[in-house]
Amino acid sequence: MSSKPTGVFPANPVTTRGLSVKLSAVKDKVIYTNGKTVIIRNLNNPLLSTTYSEHVHNATVARISPSGYYCASADTNGTVRVWDTVGEDQTLKGEYKVISGRINDLAWDGESKRIIAVGDGREKFGHAFMMETGSSTGEISGHSKAINAVSIRHQRPFRAATAADDSTIVFHQGVPFKYDKTIKTHTKFVQDVQYAPSGDHFVSVGSDAKIFLYDGKTGDTVSEFTANPHTGSIMASSWCPDSASFVTSSADCTVTLWDVQNQKPVSTWKLGSGVDNQQVGNAWSGNRDIVSLSMSGDLNIFDPRVGDKPARIISAPQKAITAMAPVDDKTFLGGTADGRVYSFTTSLAPQKAVSTTTLNDESRHIAGAGHSNFVSGLASNTRDHNIYSIGYDDRVREIDAGSGSDAPSFTSASASTASQPKSVAVTGDGTVLVLEINSIEAFRSNQRVFEQTPKFVQSAIAASNSVVAIGGEDQKVRINDWDGKSLREVAVLEGNKGIISALAFSPDGKLLASGDSSGRVALFDVKEKLLITSRWSFHSARINSLSWTSDSLHCASASLDTHVYIWSVAKPTKNIVIKKAAPGGANSVLWLDSGSPAKLATAGADGCVRLWEVKFHA
């Protein structure tokens, strides 16, 4: 009868080459953005994270007020939204259009009343305003290029420092904020500037790999940190809550912890090499966790007391999740639009409000030779539990599900397809059927065993033992028989009103659900080859995915209209709706457990996987 959210596997921050990413942290939570979504990630238990998807344009930075009650998030259009973080419904406090371009950074004052937002505007690069009303509290001026970062001294007298692409830092007095002086220490882009929590100092870092320390009240340069191990652009810095040390992250793949008193590096961590390991953002969570962001999206967590490598690494999708497939009753895989595949593990235990340090629920990047481009489908082999993935790099790859403590990984074997693969299915005898733009190919042990070029344009495929359903752009579903050597067409089913976009057989093989581009789901009897009902037509856009419960009584459909509907075979007029199950469009839906209450996972364009508990109609 109803559904309720039980948790979310959040996406990781989106990264762009050469751009510093602004992370921030409050206690054990890290706040960042991915696409239009603002994510408040709980470092200890990802399922307790929250997401905010009300931005119309891509969000760029989000920071929680010192009071902890509000979050300010900004987007590429120059809009700042201030919203409530305490209540469930994330009430909007105010929406302010502050500059006419991308906002790169924003900062709260110590009283949680004022905000300065900076970026790349047309007539000005920054704006200082009251959080409640949006009225101006000064002027941010003195820069000739886009401003990259801003920081406000949290004690009175208020000061603000802004760092820009014109290689200068401007020191403002406040309030109201007004220009005081320009600091010309750096020789290249200044990437970040941060005030110490005590207000005594602030630090600036830049693309010239230099670090400078300034007096917090006057803005005078105290010194340059010359014992500097960084050789590349320093992208971010953040302070320890006790103001005695700070950390810098650099594009030369290193993270360095500095002692302010004697101006020496305490420790330096090296994270491999190559573009993927460039460090582009950081934040200091609690008293001891340092979070540094890799270009690949991985959040590396360092403990200052521990030596040469991250204490742990949080990996999660950066791009839209395009397909999901189950591994066992606790683990499932998700393929993304950038070709990576992740495994998600959930203990399915009821979530407690108190966070624990047990890491039962996590997402992990699947190692091995993966896809280099868009993963267009995943399918499980019911016999050996291996999973087959297809991608726009025109290859079929095999993922070993692993056993026990072994994590799933790509096997080295792969086969190339004749044209771009669209959909994949595995038959009962373990043959992998790949539906491509021009043909259908069958693979067994990475060898092509069959190829067929149909007369119609095909769009989706599903298989149950030897029965194979192929959907076409002609709004028809063709039932085929697979005898181990070839496909033979046995029936044509009609009942859809658009291009067939998703097909799923019920686990008992008796029923077939077919979703189309008009949002209709048709239910067919496979044996009688008859349309049972087309009443499942509540979606208003393309059906992207269908999933059956293990008892074959309920079917869930995920659609581009962002909603998920759960249909009942016994009562076709009844349905359960999960509105906005995946902001931006739901790409995939998967039942994890059909017990009572049943558990459902949905994923979509925002790269997050959301978990739900569903109670069926009595």
Partner: protein, 138 residues
């Protein structure tokens, strides 16, 4: 454009029975075989809204009158008579044309209809969307 289709007297009698005597919960109207007259196809006193939805065929047009009972948010029961023009996407175009042009003949004969609903798929005649329309305003 009117199609020239007439309304059978039974339609009005059954409607009066629904409206005044509360003898029925809903009435389904259709055209007769010769497509010359609107006739009563079914009357029912089932209290289940799902039964009503189940009586709307997947690929054929119908009209229906339903005695819709609901509770206001601030309490208090209301009854409203709703008129449904059921014209599903899957129906034949000719039938949809004929039903659309004949609707007025029936609709004008029925006095006291509070809400009119145009349904082309099941989401538009679902209980929630009808309730939303019925509870708007009054």
């Amino acid at each position: 454009m009117a199609s020239g289709v007439g309304v059978n007297d039974m339609c009005l009698n059954e409607y009066q029975a629904l409206k005044l005597k509360k003898a029925h919960k809903y009435i389904i109207f259709s055209l007769n075989k010769e497509l010359t007259e609107i006739v009563v196809e079914k009357t029912s006193s089932s209290q289940s809204y799902d039964d009503f939805i189940a009586d709307l065929p997947e690929t054929e047009c119908r009209w229906a009158v339903y005695d819709f009972e609901f509770e206001k948010e601030e309490g208090g029961k209301r009854n409203k008579i709703i008129f449904v023009s059921w014209s599903p996407d899957g129906a034949k175009i000719k039938q949809k044309m004929l039903f659309a042009s004949s609707k007025d003949a029936l609709r004008r004969a029925l006095v006291g209809v509070a809400v009119e609903i145009q349904g082309t798929d099941y989401s538009e005649v679902a209980y929630e969307s009808v309730l939303d329309k019925a509870s708007r305003g009054h």
